[in-house]
Symmetry: C2
Subunit: 262 residues, 2 copies
DNA sequence: AAACGCCATTGATTCAAGTCAACGCGGCGT
DNA sequence: ACGCCGCGTTGACTTGAATCAATGGCGTTT
């Protein structure tokens, strides 16, 4: 695996002095480790399926990683030895044709679970769209817990079904929407994931795009030129404001939704 | 639900005389019901997760349905009261935009499981691409068994992950392949599902397309004219033979694969 | 501060696939 | 036998997005 740009903090690593994190992960009776209590994955993610003792055990085997923008997490057709929870940032899942054409087939936000159970090597690549922090576990530990705790498998099933719904939603976008509709749909999807409050109710929403123009093109099956042109069109029509390349403000969520084709 | 064109054989239905099927489903000790023993779903499908007693119980609650080509199984945003195994035929999963544009987001072959656990109403439509036979169960029975038998949830997870892999594979096709590559990929996928032997090893493979030109277009994000033209091109190039509208012979599987873009 | 690289935008032109239209073929009802 | 209808094919033309090419910020290096 290309570990370029990946900083790893192992909680099992012998530290010069026991730091706060280290202590936070030690199991006390069967209450959850302090670090996990504050973790999104503990509540909305797969760790919610575990009891205090299991959580402590998993936490002991886990380590945090901070991955910088652009770094590859999993190569295509690579043997994968660990699973992770996304704690922050955005991970892009990609597929590449032999001649280099690329398609982003999914985006993962906190607290999504990253990994493909029941398959030795992955059929997709994963890389950090933004700086990403992960809580990673050895494959074997997670797989043993899946057998011991059916609730965990239930969570994974729920996430897999949600991802399947998402993937099928994007199949419609890829297959049947125009470039303009694709861009509108994309902005709405990002807004809903990054700034859910604003995107749901409010008229305006402001956020940083987690993807470059090139990534957006690879996600929507377009070229960067078309992405750029459609964004300027939305800007000229007063639907979005482009603060700078990355920062976008949706001036009118309802009008944007009207251009998404559904 | 639109039951037009759906013939239902209930195994709980009081028959004028106990027929073979009826007797086959009665539980004897804990050996599997005779009907299930011969069923593909018993071996490769989700029923493989159940023991003899559970299988007998599920079989008692099940009923067979034969659905004719074109009939709708599940409407979009419809409340779904049952799950099914596909025993034969092909089910198409569709999504439709408000203005009528349609995208087929998946195809299900025997012995796939049909249904979306953990969600009250479906977000996709399902209809019979060919004549389809289903083994259907009440939602509640399956959901209880999922709780009692984690193996069942494991099977569903595996199928969901496989479907997710398929969906992502098609996202690449929809987003990044040319019309010619889309058609080649489609023919290969169908061949692998319908005539796996021939498609894998042999040089030629022969099968009936389970979809109309219009369905193929909706699956690949193309128009029927483009589908027709690309098929003609493959025929002129001697890669396929079009026996009649439905029946296709792949003259050279390797050459076809060479045109699929991957 | 000049030079470079990277990312994004904008304009001019091309082309793959869509649209519109005509026609062919086979099954079905009258 | 006839006309009709649904499905598929083929041809002529149009168009939306890709391609090719030039230019503009902006941060980093020298």
């Amino acid at each position: 695996m290309a570990f370029a740009g990946i900083v790893t903090y192992s909680f099992r690593m012998p530290a010069s002095r026991p730091n706060d994190d280290e202590r936070a992960l030690r199991p006390q009776s069967d209450s959850p480790p302090a670090l996990c209590t504050a973790c999104e994955a503990r509540h909305r993610g797969v760790c919610g399926a575990l009891d205090g003792e299991q959580l402590a055990e998993l936490a002991r085997a886990s380590h945090l990683q901070v991955i910088e923008e652009g770094a590859e997490l999993i190569g295509d057709a690579e043997r994968v030895e660990s699973y992770s929870n996304v704690l922050s940032g955005v991970v892009k899942l990609t597929k590449t044709l032999p001649d280099g054409r690329q398609q982003i087939v999914g985006l993962q936000f906190a607290p999504d679970f990253l990994g493909r159970p029941f398959r030795e090597e992955s059929t997709i690549g994963a890389s950090a769209a933004t700086t990403v922090s992960l809580c990673s576990f050895p494959k074997s530990t997670v797989e043993r817990m899946m057998r011991e705790q059916p609730q965990l498998e239930n969570r994974l099933l729920r996430q897999a079904l949600d991802e399947l719904d998402d993937a099928r939603e994007w199949m419609v976008t890829l297959g049947r929407k125009t470039a303009a509709e694709k861009i509108a749909s994309f902005l709405l999807m990002i807004a809903r994931n990054i700034a859910p409050r604003a995107a749901g109710a409010g008229e305006t929403a402001s956020f940083d795009l987690p993807l470059t123009r090139s990534d957006i093109a690879d996600f929507l099956g377009l070229t960067i030129e078309t992405v750029s042109r459609q964004l300027t069109k939305l800007r000229i029509d007063g639907i979005i404001r482009i603060e700078n390349n990355r920062r976008i403000t949706i001036e009118n969520v309802v009008r944007l939704a009207g251009r998404a084709g559904d």
